[in-house]
């Protein structure tokens, strides 16, 4: 038990911080209730998926700058395909978009492996390519989302036998997030591939010499990153009802949350739980700033500053760790 606690100290610390923030929110705004919590969860969804996408790539020793653009591409693709189509057609759209996300991520990985250009340069170039693609698919915000998808992330889960005052704190969006992340992450982490991703993240050379197929593992890591990005893009389309071809501020947010969540930039360490808690912390901070009636534009400044400071501290700690 103590060993478990020590191993998970960082994550538990983040969890404690999250609880403190919730209490602070309640103090700032005593009326903060279940419906606000549900709204928060819906707002968190795209961010959480972006962070998951970044986390898996960073664990594998890379970084993907094109995540926000991939989200834009998947978002507009879904919105355009669902526009005017029947409700059932969405059942075709979702697998297609997820596959598209995986393909885009895997393409990043393939380009990195084939050209041997560093990930940061390849994904920077692909950031622009995907952003252009999104603009080609949809010039301005538009399209539509199926109604049943929209209702899926709205409201709360009714569980028979559990009183209302508990279920109203379990929004559909949260359940969806946990289920989707777990469905990809848990099998992956227990599989050979998951281990290989951690291995190439800690030391590509050592992994190669131990017989890990480095190129294939890297492509898969980027592919799964793309898959999560596609989920984020879908979440974006579903929660707003339209597709947005201009990428949101997800890149910096994802890097900041990954660093705050205990995943070391450079790879090989960390998990998915920490970054997800971190993204909740960052979003809740924004809510608090809004509740304190800070100018929304000033909120952008504060948020940006927090993210930059987090990344700076993360880099500083990595540097200290390396020199000691």
């Amino acid at each position: 038990m103590i060993r478990f606690l020590r191993q998970q100290a960082w994550v538990l610390g983040l969890l404690a911080l999250l609880v403190v923030l919730f209490i602070a929110t309640k103090i700032i705004q005593p009326n903060y209730g279940a419906s606000d919590f549900t709204a928060l969860m819906r707002a968190v969804l795209p961010y959480a998926f972006a962070v998951a996408a970044q986390a898996i790539v960073v664990i594998g020793g890379g970084i993907d700058l094109s995540i926000a653009s991939m989200m834009a591409v998947t978002s507009v693709t879904a919105a355009v395909m669902m526009n005017g189509a029947s409700e059932e057609f969405a059942l075709v759209v979702i697998p297609f978009v997820l596959l598209l996300g995986f393909a885009m991520g895997a393409l990043n990985g393939i380009l990195i492996v084939v050209t041997r250009v560093p990930d940061i340069v390849v994904t920077l170039a692909m950031l622009f390519v995907y952003q252009g693609l999104a603009l080609l698919i949809l010039g301005s915000p538009g399209g539509a989302a199926a109604v049943w998808l929209k209702t899926m992330i709205a409201g709360t889960v009714p569980i028979p036998g559990v009183p209302d005052w508990i279920t109203m704190w379990i929004p559909n969006a949260l359940v969806l997030l946990v289920v989707l992340l777990a469905a990809v992450w848990i099998p992956l982490k227990r599989s050979h591939i998951g281990l290989s991703i951690y291995a190439i993240g800690s030391s590509e050379l050592a992994a190669f010499r131990s017989g890990v197929p480095v190129a294939r593992t890297k492509i898969i890591a980027y592919g799964i990153g793309g898959l999560f990005a596609a989920m984020g893009g879908l979440a974006l389309t579903i929660s707003t009802g339209i597709g947005a071809p201009i990428p949101g501020p997800y890149l910096l947010a994802s890097v900041a949350a990954v660093v705050l969540g205990g995943v070391v930039l450079g790879g090989g360490r960390g998990g998915l739980v920490g970054p997800i808690i971190a993204v909740f912390i960052l979003r809740l901070l924004r809510t608090d700033l809004t509740l304190l009636s800070v100018d929304p534009n000033a909120t952008t400044i504060i948020e940006g500053t927090i993210m930059v400071v987090v990344v700076m501290l993360g880099a500083f700690l990595t540097m200290r760790g390396r020199s000691s």
Partner: protein, 328 residues
């Protein structure tokens, strides 16, 4: 560039051609520019005249300046993603301050945000060792937030593009754009600094082998701090010129130029990994990009496809340069 791809790697001639190209990167660039001009002439006969040339130069000059930020930071293995936002901020602040102050005072006020962003970038990259790309993206975001807040406070006071800036940005004398008056000295200073001063050599040394440079006694953070401040100030100047060229109040005036600026530096032969490149190539790269833009506009290629093409160019050129370096 196309010559590199087509030469067979086995022949000694190909080897020599490669070496020649990495030693004199401006020669193949000029050849490429000439080829593009021929292609443009075939596409639309008669388009290449003195007026078109002046206009192309007018737009290429701010692009080349912004690409200068990327060039000098890339020499150390960095990049300046905040340059576009800094330029927009400077332009907006100048436009709103020009009503109340002397030109010189207004320019000084407008350059303050650029200076601050440069200092923060330099500290983040030099002291805390954050990756330059992430650091500058972050400061760009913060600067944009500040600009939005600032916009609220000045919305009542009005926005004006001063006449001297219009003259500098848009005016032409004897068929040559007036912005050359600003550009030629700046470019000369950059080229001279990179080629013949200690600071320039430090940049190349850091980009080539940071560890060796440190062991040789280079104070990393001081060089990087100075570098990013210079880059930001250069971005600020670009913003001023661009305001004179476009003459509108916009919060994202120069932002669309960021991707072309990275592309111009990369095409110009500056290695994104550091230690290799120069500003002459970047200037030619900027002109090449403007010619390509003209061609894309003529062919009525939409904005999205243009971004895809530019992104692909960055990736392809980087991969080719990497190949050349590895083969040596």
């Amino acid at each position: 560039m196309s010559a590199v791809v087509s030469t067979p790697a086995t022949a000694p001639l190909g080897q020599r051609a490669k070496r020649f190209m990495s030693d004199y990167p401006t020669v193949p660039l000029l050849v490429l520019l000439a080829l593009l001009l021929v292609a443009l002439h075939i596409l639309q006969p008669g388009i290449i005249n003195q007026r078109w040339a002046a206009q192309t130069m007018q737009f290429a000059i701010p692009l080349a300046l912004l690409a200068g930020c990327q060039t000098i930071t890339m020499l150390t293995g960095g990049i300046d993603m905040s340059a576009g936002t800094v330029a927009s901020v400077t332009a907006y602040v100048l436009g709103s301050q020009a009503l109340h102050h002397d030109p010189a005072v207004a320019v000084l006020i407008a350059m303050v945000p650029a200076l601050l962003v440069g200092i923060v970038n330099g500290i983040g990259v030099g002291v805390f060792r954050v990756h330059p790309l992430i650091m500058t993206l972050g400061t760009g975001l913060i600067a944009f937030g500040c600009l939005q807040v600032y916009q609220r406070t000045v919305i009542a006071t009005g926005f004006q593009v001063p006449d001297w800036l219009r003259w500098l940005g848009t005016g032409q004398t004897w068929g040559l754009p007036n912005s050359l008056v600003a550009f030629v000295p700046i470019a000369a200073i950059i080229i001279f600094t990179l080629r013949s001063t200690g600071f320039g050599r430090l940049l190349y040394a850091l980009g080539d082998n940071e560890r060796a440079a440190r062991l040789a006694g280079v104070r990393y953070w001081q060089v990087i701090l100075a570098l990013y401040v210079i880059s930001s100030l250069l971005a600020g100047l670009t913003g001023l010129l661009f305001l004179g060229l476009i003459k509108t109040a916009s919060l994202t005036l120069v932002d669309p130029q960021l991707l072309p600026s990275v592309a111009a530096a990369v095409i110009g032969g500056t290695s994104i990994f550091g230690g290799r490149g120069g500003y002459v190539g970047t200037i030619i790269g900027a002109v090449i990009l403007r010619v390509i833009t003209t061609m894309l506009t003529l062919m009525q290629i939409p904005e999205g496809a243009r971004m895809i093409i530019f992104g692909a160019i960055i990736l392809a050129v980087t991969a080719i340069y990497l190949k050349i370096i590895e083969d040596r």
